[in-house]
Assembly symmetry: C2
Homo-oligomer: 222 residues x 2
């Protein structure tokens, strides 16, 4: 009955693929702002300019929707890195480009990625989904280190490698968080700073220089 006085002349009726992206955009935005539990499906639907049953019809339950967000953003991020890293580059060049790409991506998607990522860490249902992504990253980093080490004829245990990789990844995530909280900061410069910590340290390790705990009283300093 009521004439629609919308700015868009005819009541838009969009194809599924388009609406799905709009919904995901809205979902990422709302999840970021409110957190997983704080976000309501009503608000997401509203923000996407659509009604709730549509969201259920296209993307499923709230949990599935969140996983879909995680998936899309995660894939985009991995892609952003893959786009700039060629396998024939030197180790430090690869690390440098990855950091640049990663922090650049986070800087450009402050609302999207980082907060989504922060969200997912706590929530049980997504821990799996998330650690899978994280594991892929850790493996890439560990592989990189290992390859370089092996090529220099040095031996390391699996565990050593894993811990170092975790440290590197954690450091980068932490810096990414810092970046999100400092909108004025430049991603590229931040990447340089990060590289200073990561590579300078890693290079030492690769060179075989390591730190040993000081001998305690009564212990022989073998």
């Amino acid at each position: 009955m009521l004439a629609r006085v919308s700015s868009t002349p005819t009541f838009r009726r969009l194809p599924r693929a388009v609406r799905e992206q709009q919904m995901l955009d809205a979902a990422v935005k709302v999840f970021s702002r409110r957190g997983y539990h704080g976000a309501s499906m009503d608000e997401i639907a509203d923000d996407a300019g659509i009604s709730k049953p549509m969201v259920y019809a296209y993307l499923g339950t709230k949990e599935e929707l969140f996983v879909a967000c995680l998936h899309r953003e995660g894939t985009r991020m991995m892609q952003a890195i893959a786009d700039v890293v060629a396998p024939d580059l030197s180790a430090d060049e690869r690390l440098w480009r990855s950091l640049q790409a990663f922090l650049g991506f986070v800087g450009a998607h402050r609302d999207g990625w980082a907060v989504l990522y922060r969200q997912a860490r706590g929530e049980q249902p997504f821990a799996g989904e998330l650690t899978a992504l994280r594991r892929r990253i850790v493996e890439v980093v560990a592989g990189m280190l290992e390859h370089t080490l092996r090529s220099e004829g040095r031996e390391v245990t699996e565990t050593d490698l894993e811990v170092v990789a975790y440290a590197l990844v954690g450091a980068t995530e932490s810096v990414a968080d810092w970046l999100v909280d400092h909108p004025e900061a430049d991603p590229e410069q931040t990447a340089t700073r990060m590289m200073n910590v990561a590579w300078v340290g890693a290079a030492q390790l690769l060179a075989g220089i390591s730190w040993r705990p000081p001998a305690r009283r009564g212990e022989a300093s073998s």
Copy 2:
């Protein structure tokens, strides 16, 4: 009317201070297992062997309860570190002892601390509480680095210091997460591995060795 066939002969009626600790113990346990939202006040009360209104009477709302948990565990952790770090130690000794204490603490409180910490990062209401704690840690680390740098007559910007400190803290947290997920791992050995990454890198920085981005095509390598 019903005779209480409890194992404890007389129906225990404990002083407030004791009950509060029991409640906090239960809360930490349940929050850790289920996450903030997943945990119900009923379950916490039940686990503490008390009824819900008691929890409200003593510790307040769910949010306040969680903050109380965060506070207690956070203080304990800071204390564990403060106990082993003397200000007259050398920088690397301080860092080493802090790492040992921190990872030792996390190792001993796998259920308690780390999961609680993971929880808090996502949830809006506690982001403040948490970043305050985190900031204190970052400041300590940054202060440590700055002091050492200054004592060698070198200058650094506030921001450089902050980013490096964030990276260090993030790396450590990440390794702590790894530790929680690997019950068989030895905290002490993990601390050594962590020290290898952190200190070897930091020592280079302190010595003035830094990494510079490679000049790109068309750019002058000033």
